[in-house]
């Protein structure tokens, strides 16, 4: 199987480390959308062994094959995240306060060969992230063709 470079952007609401858990269905109701993925404390990871230390609620663009000519890259994914934040900013802030959640935007790339996906956070997205008090995580994994 030929491996390809993939990109994925995710906005996650993490449970506070102190109690480590919350009910994801409460966030579905408060934000009015279903999570792309959610999990509870002590749920097993989908891959490998071990269990989750903290609950989480996640909106994700999905892991996509990097194809800038077709508009599949971090720029298009972060536009989706920006729209999500614009539409749900006040509910996210309320939910974070009510359930002691920490918001995080993650961009993860699995790079194969000579592909080098760029990432751009425009000032509007940065301002939205600042308003919901989110941090940004970037993770890069390299592998041979």
């Amino acid at each position: 199987m030929v491996r390809k470079t993939t990109v994925e952007s995710m906005f996650t609401l993490w449970a506070a480390e102190s109690n480590g858990d919350f009910v994801p269905e409460d966030i579905h109701v408060e934000l009015g959308i279903i999570a792309s993925k959610s999990w509870r404390k002590n749920d097993p990871f989908s891959v490998g062994t071990g269990v989750r230390k903290q609950g989480g609620w996640q909106y994700s663009t999905g892991r996509e094959e990097f194809n800038p000519e077709a508009g599949i890259d971090f720029f298009s994914q972060l536009l989706k995240i920006k729209e999500f934040l614009k539409n749900h900013k006040s509910q996210i802030v309320s939910a974070c306060k009510r359930h002691s959640l920490t918001p995080e935007l993650s961009c993860v790339m699995h790079v194969v060969g000579s592909d080098r996906p760029g990432i751009g956070y425009d000032s509007e997205l940065i301002a939205l992230l600042g308003e919901v008090k989110a941090e940004v995580d970037v993770d890069v994994y390299f592998s041979a063709v």
């Binding site: 790339m109 790079v111 194969v112 060969g113 000579s114 080098r116 996906p117 760029g118 990432i119 751009g120 956070y121 425009d122 000032s123 940065i126 301002a127 992230l129 600042g130 308003e131 008090k133 989110a134 941090e135 940004v136 995580d137 970037v138 993770d139 890069v140 994994y141 390299f142 592998s143 041979a144 063709v145």
Partner: protein, 141 residues
Amino acid sequence: MNKVVISIRINHPSWPVDKITSLMKCAPEIGRSVGEERRTPTGIKLDGKNPETHWIKSLDYEGDSLPRAIEKAILEFGSQSTAGREIRESGGNVEFFIGWFFKKNGGDILPAELLGRLAGLGIDLSFDIYGPEVRMVTGKP
């Protein structure tokens, strides 16, 4: 430690380089004003004129983590704290263009407080990732 090189990149549709230099209180390494003849970096004349102004200054923070390097760039830019807003409000944009050089798998976290400060200054963030040389696996010995 992964190496981080940050360039402050300013684009403006109508202001010349001199006006931005005066606002920034420092000279760019590369400056091209809108309406001037297009030239290569070595000065060879090209067809047409610059469609907008480009103002670029590099800041090398070798040895610093990504958040620390951005923090230092904010401090350098911070003495012109109104510059970002003025440039943006007049139709331009300010960007920290980050070259991030990896020797192996890695990443970093930008804290919310740091993003809040970037938002206050009206700065975009743009990343170019440079990885280790990856050996091509052909399946042959």
